[in-house]
Every structure is written in C-alpha cells, then in structure tokens.
C-alpha cells in the first residue's frame, strides 16, 4: 500500500501508467458518451411537458456534475499537496483547473439555452446559477494564482490553500436548490435514490455522466503528462523519451 503511495509520487512512474491507461479512458469514455448522447438525444422518449427541449440535460447534467466533482477532486489533491508535498497532486490541480472551468461554463451555457424556452429567460439570479457562477470565478482565481507565482513549490502550496478555502462553495451549490426556494429544480440525477424519471431517460443520462468522467480522466492524464514533461525536462528519462519519440 505505502509502496504504491510512494510510487504515485514519482512523475516518471505516473507517466508510464498514464500512457497505458489513456487509450482505455479515451475509447471507453467516447463509447459511453456516444451511446448515452445518441440514445438520449435521438431515442429517449419526449418529456410530456417540455417536449424535446429537455434533451439538453444529457449534456447539461453531466457537465454540471463534473464541474463540481472536479473541484472536489482538486481539493483532495490540494490537501495531499499540503500534507505530503506530493508533486503529482499539484500537477493534477494545475491540469484539472482549466478543464473544470470549461465544464462549469458548459453547464452554465447549456442551462441558459434550456432556460430560454422553458423559463423564458437566459439568465436568472437564483441560488444555483449564482453559486455555479461563483464556482467559475473560483476556477479563474485558481488558474490566475497558479500562473502568477513562478516558483514551482510556492505556487503549488499557495494554489492548494486557495482551492481548500474555495471548497466551502461546494456544499452551497449542492444544497442551494434545497435550502432556497428557487427556480432551478432540485437535483435530477442521484445515484442513491430511485430515479424520478423513466428508465429510458435515466440510463442514457447515467451513460453520459460516466462517459464524461472517463473523458475527463483521459484529458487530465494528457494535460498532466504535458505538465510533467515541461517540469522534468532536465531529467534523463524525459530526454531519452523525447529522443526515442524523435527517431
């Protein structure tokens, strides 16, 4: 167990594992996402009230789900950075932050597109939307602080502190629809309860959420590999690797 933990701290070891893992993540994710989206967008039954416009949830819910989930993952990694000073944890935070920001933006954007025909407005300052907007700002802050500090170690720890401070927003987002009486409906998608929608809608939604998770994993691995190559560019294994690729 501890040996595994120590190995995980080694960029070289992670680089190898990621290379082997990435095809699985990419193709698994693409397959699931494709199946979920095609099923959801083309074959799932119409909603009796909203007609076809509800179908955007097959993009909206997975991206919103991931947007919060990525932040929680980053917060866990930030804790690891502060406690064990593990370099890879910081590499993950730096790699995941822009992806998280894009997912948050996607969730807000698809929400707006859906809100226009359903609520009659692109944007409303209700609790869920506002807290997601704050999440987007937090991602921007993390990216900006990471870029502003040139020293690698200080940058890692400063960003970790900021990510951990921002984590207070996550429960606010999650429970905003339950604490306040808002326009945004309560969570559509829960793994712990019996779904309130028919199975033909729920299963494709589940597939797209899982697919997006895998795609995120692939993307995170890719970005982490890039970051590792940049940081370890002076080490022998990176030089050998690059030379082998070049030939």
């Amino acid at each position: 167990m501890w040996q595994f933990f120590h190995k995980l701290g080694s960029p070289k070891w992670f680089f190898g594992i990621a290379t082997r893992l990435m095809p699985w993540l990419l193709w698994g994710g693409a397959l699931l996402l494709f199946a979920g989206l095609v099923w959801g967008l083309a074959f799932a039954p119409k909603d009796y009230l909203q007609g076809n416009s509800y179908r955007i949830i097959f993009i909206h819910v997975p991206s919103a789900f991931l947007a919060q989930s990525v932040y929680v993952m980053m917060a866990s990694a930030a804790l690891v950075t502060l406690v064990w000073r593990m370099k890879l944890a910081d590499v993950f935070v730096k790699a995941a932050a822009p992806v998280g920001a894009v997912l948050t933006f996607l969730a807000l954007f698809t929400g707006a597109v859906w809100g226009k025909p359903t609520w009659g407005t692109w944007w409303i300052w209700d609790a869920r939307l506002t807290s997601m907007l704050i999440l987007l700002f937090l991602y921007f802050g993390v990216i900006a602080l990471g870029a502003a500090i040139s020293d690698e170690k200080s940058s890692a720890r400063a960003v970790a502190v900021l990510v951990l401070v921002g984590v207070v927003n996550i429960p606010i987002i999650k429970y905003s629809v339950e604490w306040w009486n808002t326009l945004h409906q309560p969570a559509t998608f829960k793994l712990t309860e019996k779904p309130s929608m028919p199975m033909e809608m729920w299963v494709p939604l589940l597939l797209s959420v899982l697919g997006l998770y895998l795609i995120f994993g692939w993307f995170a691995c890719l970005r982490m590999q890039t970051e590792i190559l940049i940081r370890e560019r002076r080490t022998r294994w990176v030089k050998e690797l690059v030379q082998a690729e070049g030939n």
């Binding site: 506002t130 900006a144 502003a148 401070v165």
Partner: protein, 241 residues
C-alpha cells in the same frame, strides 16, 4: 541534553504569553497606522465617492435609491475593504517584521488574527460609523439604516478575515492588486448576498433574525478557520521571497 532542556525551559519563561503577544501586535498595528493618517482616510474617501457615483450615474430618483441604497453601500464597503487589504501585510513584509512574527514562539495564526482585527478596526469599523450618513443620502428610512449598520458591523470583520487570506497569498507578487480582487471577490459574494438580503427584508418589514443568524454564522466560521489559512499562506509567501 539536560542543558538543552534547561535552555528551552528558560526560553519558554522569557516568551510572553499568547494574549499579551496578540495585544502587542494589535496595538503596534494601530500605532503605526496612526502615524500614516492619510492611508487611514483613503478607503473612507473611496467609500463615499463610490456611493456618490450611483445617484449620479444611474438615477437620483428617490424610489430607485431607496431600493438599491443598501446594495450600493454594501458593494462600496466591500470594494474599499478590498482596496485596503494590500496594506495589511505589505509594509511588514517589506521591512522584515513579518519574518520576525513567523519566528515568534506564539502560534502564527493568533498573531495573524490580531493583525486582521487591527485591520478591521482601522477600515471596517470606520465604514460602519460612516454608513448612517450615506444611508440618509440614499434615502433609506431609519429602521433600514439601523439594520444596515448592524449587518455591516457583523459583515465587515468577515471581509477582513477572508481578505487576509488573499492578501497573504498574493504577498510579494507582481500585479498583486488585481489578482487579490480576482481571488477574493468570489468568496465575498455570499457575505454580500446575505448582507443586502437582511436590509431588503427589513425594508419590506419582514423578520431579519434568520438572516442575522446566518451572517453571524459566517463570522464565526471566518473567525475560526480563516486565520489558519492566512497563516499557512503567509508561510508560503515568505518561503517564496
């Protein structure tokens, strides 16, 4: 070994207690601040000027100002606290005082708490005292002004405490000012929402107890957790320089 232990014991005796140390830091910050009076006045002037922009820039109608007044005052107070945060650690960072504070035997987070409280007394408290005057200028009624001052009294310490984290994180960076705002504003939004929500409820004649309790909860949360984050951030920034 024995002499080592004795030395440590003597050091522990010579070190002053935690509370006297906090008091010393607090009073020192007040004293140095009063030697630079203009720096104390600037955030207040900024507060007054920003508030006066709204009637001129948006609408001087009494009905608009009554509705938006509390929000305007809160946003202006928030911005002036934000602008003053840069001073919180900057001077002490430049002249090396901060390094001495980190080396003290007393826990750093308590010394940081003392510094933050001094910052609040120097910026937040004057804003609260100035708020009734500006409240009258934006046509708030007496009850709303009283509630507004109370929310600012509970809310501005939260702003100082959260802001200290950002000030500590951006210490010694280029273009720290803009970055500081970028990091801190998202964390200020909940305080702003509940601060203005309280006054809006009071204007509508609704009970404000629940809102006040939530603001109080923010204060307790910030008071207990923010100093730890600020202290950690200070250590990081100092190891960077």
């Amino acid at each position: 070994m024995a002499s080592d232990a004795r030395v440590r014991l003597r050091l522990a005796h010579e070190a002053i207690g935690v509370l006297p140390a906090m008091k010393a830091v607090f009073l020192r910050d007040l004293k140095t601040a009063f030697r630079q009076r203009q720096d104390l006045l600037n955030p207040l002037l900024f507060f007054v000027m920003v508030v006066s922009l709204f009637p001129l820039g948006v609408s001087p109608e009494v009905s608009f100002l009554q509705q938006a007044g509390s929000g305007i005052l809160w946003v202006a107070a928030l911005l002036s606290v934000l602008l003053s945060l840069d001073h919180l650690f900057r001077h002490d960072f430049d002249d090396g005082t901060l390094e001495q504070l980190v080396l003290q035997p007393q826990p750093l987070f308590l010394l940081v708490l003392a510094k933050t409280l001094a910052h609040w007394v120097l910026t937040g408290l004057p804003l609260v005292l100035l708020a009734p005057l500006l409240g009258v200028m934006v046509h708030l009624d007496g009850n709303s002004i009283a509630v507004l001052c109370l929310t600012l009294l509970i809310g501005t310490p939260v702003l100082s405490l959260i802001g200290a984290i950002g000030a500590a994180l951006t210490l010694g960076l280029r273009s720290a000012g803009v970055l500081l705002s970028l990091l801190i504003i998202p964390l200020y939004i909940p305080v702003l929402i509940f601060g203005t929500g309280t006054v809006a409820a009071a204007t509508d004649g609704a009970p404000v107890g629940g809102y006040m309790a939530l603001l109080g909860a923010f204060l307790v949360l910030a008071l207990t957790l923010a100093p730890f984050a600020s202290a950690a951030a200070l250590r990081i920034s100092l190891s960077n320089s």
